[in-house]
């Protein structure tokens, strides 16, 4: 058992005070001549059983009360109790630290944030342990990192708060993997969290295996959860939802730098739970916009916990030029349509969500190249590509035969449609590079198929192969079997509506993929993943991965007599084709843009963030606007504007992180059902150490002893 003030234990001999008083009291007896002796003798003979023990029980309770006081004042730590129960020193201590932005929230009456309180309390508590290994899994890296001591662990830069949400399933998996590999004799896992529901992802299927693995480790691993569930003070979070250049209506697009205005859309939301937020009165919140060295003040009317500033004109490109000219400190020649800035709220209950960043540039032209034997075979695709859904996007479609296709022309292309036989190796290499850059590729079977071309396809030398997301080169292995005329048109019955090309719309409506009528089908050959398939298992659409939108292979052509995708009788099928084409263009154009908007994420997070995956990681990142005090390898964990080669990366705080809804007690019990976890609920800003729980326990012992003593010392009811 550990104590923060062990010297107070020297006062334990004070426990004999009640015994000494008892003995002294006995010694200080009075002598009394007594007449009614017969009643005393009779009462003595009735003094049996519990009555004989009563005074000894009272004496024991008094001794227990003194011991309780001494132990409580010596501040025993609950973890010490756990270690004591576990028997001896621990082999490994693993700290799972929530470093998400909500941990920066301060308590209702405290200056310290939850994170600072946790660090302070851990510093006192962990110093009581003699562990041979100190391991931390932080929400920034999700990796188990070993330290030499508890002090070095708690002083590590990795433990600092960031803008990255905490992925508790991933953190627990990381800790469990460490335990599986290291197999410590006795380990103690400390979970430090604010119980934010979104961090726990209670609906994640990963919890089942995590729970089973935790139960399997029960014999050797003790788990303590330190929780800071108190809601933040009045707190608002700010997010930039859109930042774009827009040309004034009276300007002709002769010069891309003339007549352009920068518009921002901002959302301010209360981070309190929606039930609490609904009670918040309407108010106007000032917003400070920092752009090109200027500080622009705006205000947002917030009602029911939410307010939005839609298409707010920040300034024009001309104003930005004047500002730069007057500020000699600014780097010369940086004025371009690439711009960035930040928005900031006044101080409130959580400083971490008071700032967001933006970056903007001109939308690139959505260029599409259609390589086909005959343009009529892919005409619906061409028409869809020429009609962008976003009117601010300019589109260009070029149709070329395979013989005239120049691989060099893929620069600046967002979408490539290949409807012909498999490309030659040189062309295939260029297409690999195109897809690797983030361009979208659709492949349709040629009108005339001469059988499988796998064996006859020339192979690219190993040295020249380009890795495509660590997948093997598949393009040359892709081919189609001969066309099959179907007796009756068939429709796909199985497709993925959650991710990928055929995912549901943002409103939640599913695409009517089942309305696609296929009359001629060519079997796709190659190592691809089926995205949409028929009841008999044949594939209509295949992709490089189930969530891929960039590399799509079709098993038919979008025109009659192959299919009825774009016929007037199948409007829903036409919608499916149009939407998928737009998604392919959107995916391709996003990677052509010099601006990347993404959100802070852990390095090895399992969450999909394709836009982020396309960032040129190989190039050195330079922070342009961001918070200070983090390592260069933690840039992806922090919101800000960074320069990565020719691209500007604006990293935002995930909006899900701003929902301060706590994990329900029922969810906690379900997630950790059968897992022995000691829970310590702490208060933000508390100056008490974690051992306060044990302190309370001894105080309970003290109170119980005193109450028991008082109850047993009460005179009996007088008999009437």
């Amino acid at each position: 058992m550990g104590f923060l003030q062990p010297w107070i234990l020297f006062a334990l001999p004070l426990a004999i005070i009640p015994i000494a008083i008892h003995l002294a009291n006995q010694w200080r007896y009075q002598t009394k001549p007594w007449a009614a002796m017969m009643f005393l003798l009779r009462a003595k003979t009735m003094h049996r059983g519990f009555d004989r023990l009563r005074q000894w029980i009272i004496l024991s309770l008094r001794v227990a009360a003194v011991i309780g006081v001494v132990l409580a004042v010596s501040r025993p730590i609950s973890s010490g109790v756990v270690a004591w129960i576990a028997g001896g020193d621990l082999d490994t201590i693993i700290v799972l630290m929530d470093c998400s932005p909500t941990m920066s929230a301060t308590g209702p009456d405290a200056d310290l944030s939850k994170h600072q309180t946790a660090i302070k309390q851990l510093r006192n508590s962990l110093s009581m342990f003699n562990a041979s290994k100190w391991v931390m899994v932080d929400s920034n890296s999700l990796k188990a990192t070993q330290f030499a001591s508890s002090q070095s662990l708690l002083s590590s830069p990795a433990i600092q708060t960031s803008d990255t949400p905490c992925d508790w399933p991933a953190m627990l998996e990381s800790a469990l993997s460490y335990l599986d590999i290291e197999k410590p004799a006795q380990a103690h896992v400390w979970i430090v969290s604010d119980l934010q529901a979104s961090n726990f992802s209670p609906s994640s299927p990963r919890w089942e295996s995590i729970r089973d693995r935790l139960i399997a480790q029960r014999a050797t691993v003790k788990i303590t959860s330190i929780e800071y569930p108190d809601p933040p003070r009045s707190n608002y979070a700010i997010h930039v939802t859109d930042a774009r250049w827009e040309r004034r209506s009276n300007q002709r697009p002769t010069d891309s730098r003339v007549g352009m205005d920068l518009y921002l859309s901002i959302v301010i939301e209360s981070t309190l739970h929606i039930d609490s937020a609904s009670t918040i009165d309407s108010r106007s919140i000032p917003v400070s916009i920092a752009w090109q060295g200027n500080e622009i003040q705006a205000s947002v009317d917030v009602s029911s916990g939410r307010g939005e500033l839609k298409d707010y004109r920040v300034g024009s490109l001309d104003e930005a030029k004047r500002s730069l000219d007057s500020d000699s400190a600014q780097e010369s020649g940086t004025v371009s349509l690439q711009t960035w800035g930040s928005v900031r709220l006044p101080l409130d209950g959580n400083l971490a969500d008071n700032e967001d960043f933006f970056a903007a540039d001109l939308q690139p032209i959505a260029r599409t190249i259609v390589v086909c034997d005959r343009s009529a075979n892919v005409l619906p695709v061409i028409l869809a590509a020429e009609s962008p859904a976003d009117p601010s996007i300019q589109s260009e479609v070029v149709v070329v035969p395979p013989s005239s296709f120049d691989p060099q022309s893929l620069d600046g292309i967002a979408f490539l449609v290949w409807q012909s036989a498999s490309p030659d190796p040189t062309t295939a290499k260029a297409i690999y590079e195109f897809v690797n850059r983030g361009g979208s590729l659709w492949m349709f079977p040629p009108e005339q198929i001469n059988g499988p071309s796998v064996s006859s396809a020339p192979q690219i030398p190993e040295a020249t192969r380009i890795k495509l997301d660590d997948e093997p080169n598949k393009l040359l292995e892709i081919s189609w079997d001969e066309w099959n005329n179907l007796p009756e048109p068939i429709s796909p019955t199985t497709w993925r509506s959650d991710v990928g090309l055929l995912r549901a719309t943002q409103s939640g409506a599913s695409l009517e993929v089942g309305e696609l009528r296929v009359k001629k089908l060519a079997t796709i050959l190659g190592k691809l993943t089926a995205v949409a398939s028929f009841a008999d298992g044949r594939v209509l659409i295949a992709a490089l991965g189930v969530s891929s939108t960039e590399f799509i292979v079709w098993a038919t052509l979008p025109v009659l007599p192959f299919s009825a995708m774009a016929s007037s009788a199948d409007n829903q099928a036409g919608v499916v084709l149009y939407v998928t084409v737009q998604r392919a263009i959107e995916s391709g154009i996003r990677n052509l843009s010099s601006i990347v908007n993404t959100w802070a994420t852990a390095e090895n997070s399992s969450s999909e963030n394709l836009r982020f995956a396309r960032l040129p990681r190989s190039q050195k990142w330079e922070p342009i606007i961001t918070t200070e005090g983090f390592l260069s390898n933690q840039m992806t964990n922090h919101a800000g504007v960074f320069r990565a080669g020719a691209k500007i990366v604006a990293i935002h705080r995930p909006r899900l992180e701003d929902n301060a809804k706590m994990l329900e007690i029922g969810d906690w019990n379900r997630l950790f059902e059968g897992v022995a976890i000691k829970r310590l609920s702490e208060q933000t800003g508390s100056s008490n150490d974690l051992q306060s729980e044990a302190w309370r326990g001894f105080m309970v012992l003290l109170i119980c002893a005193m109450l028991g003593e008082a109850a047993m010392s009460l005179p009996k009811m007088k008999q009437t």
Binding site: N25, Q26, R28, Y29, Q30, T31, K32, P33, W34, A35, A36, M37, M38, F39, L40, L41, R42, A43, K44, M46, H47, D51, R54, Q55, S713, P715, K716, K718, Q719
Partner: protein
């Protein structure tokens, strides 16, 4: 100059002398008095008519009755006599206990002396028996006022000590005192109630009018000591060490059982029982006793 005794207050005696001491049953005294006698006498109170028998005094014939009934009747009247009051006072060591500035013995002495004074004042005879294990003081019943002086001298010289042998003495008195006397026992009665039952039944069998004053100290009733105490037996050498708070409950149980048994014993033996805590004034105690007898509705016992 007349000697003053601290245990006798003439003022109290003077106030109480207004209330006569009445026996509950017929007494047999030596001279005429104010108490009923089992014999017929020459008082003014009519008793009954009796048929004339030869030898009766013709002066007691009721001629009016003869005129009405043509038969001879003799008119008889109640006889009034004095009583013999025997006061039995316990002088064992336990009577020395007192926590209210007065011991039980002092209270008993005052009570007995005042009662004897009242009896002699109204022409009754009073006698005293004081008993402990070693010495028995006896003062025969006399109605002479000078008898009080001897009474005072004797009772002032007594120092209670030793164990009580009051039950044995009561049995002895029941046999030695002439029948139909008034016996008043003053004691704490700290012995088994069944022993007292035998004594009282014996006295009642001899047609004595028996009254019992049980004197108790308030401290004996409360037993509210705080500190550990070694209690020394006042009638012997025994001692007992107790933590009063531990034993108080059971002490109260034992005491209550005893008091209830005593009360039942006296009720069943037609003994007038009066429990007196010695912080009660003597005057009040005796007034209650005398008034109850005057009204004929004694609290305990019944008139035979």
């Amino acid at each position: 100059m007349q000697r003053q005794y601290p245990f006798f207050d003439p003022a109290i005696a003077a106030r109480l002398s207004a209330i006569p001491l009445i026996s509950r049953s017929a007494m047999i005294g030596g001279v005429s008095g104010r108490h009923k006698s089992p014999h017929r006498g020459a008082s003014v109170e009519f008793a009954e008519y009796r048929k004339y028998v030869p030898g009766d005094d013709l002066r007691r014939l009721d001629w009016r009755a003869y005129g009405r009934t043509d038969r001879f009747y003799v008119k008889e009247f109640e006889a009034d006599t004095n009583l013999r009051l025997v006061l039995v006072v316990d002088t064992s060591g336990s009577m020395n206990f007192g926590s209210v500035g007065m011991s039980k013995w002092e209270y008993a002495r005052q009570l007995a002396t005042t009662l004897a004074y009242l009896a002699i004042q109204q022409g009754d005879a009073a006698g005293l028996v004081c008993a402990s294990n070693s010495i028995t003081h006896r003062l025969p019943t006399r109605r002479n006022p000078a008898h009080l002086a001897a009474w005072m001298e004797i009772i002032s010289a007594i120092i209670p000590s030793g164990q009580t042998h009051l039950p044995r003495l009561l049995h002895e008195l029941a046999e030695t005192i002439p029948q139909r006397a008034m016996v008043v026992v003053v004691s704490d009665f700290f012995d088994e109630p069944r022993i007292w039952r035998d004594c009282f039944e014996h006295l009642r069998f001899r047609k004595h009018d028996v009254s019992a004053f049980q004197l108790l100290d308030p401290e004996e009733l409360r037993f509210d000591f705080q500190r550990p105490t070694r209690f020394m037996d006042m009638e012997g050498n025994a001692s007992i060490f107790v933590e009063p708070s531990d034993i108080q409950g059971r002490y109260q149980v034992a005491l209550t059982e005893f008091l209830e048994d005593m009360q039942i014993t006296c009720l069943e033996t037609s003994t007038e029982f009066r429990r007196v805590t010695i912080d009660t004034s003597i005057e009040q105690t005796l007034k209650d006793f005398l008034v109850a007898r005057t009204s004929g509705s004694s609290r305990q016992g019944s008139r035979k």
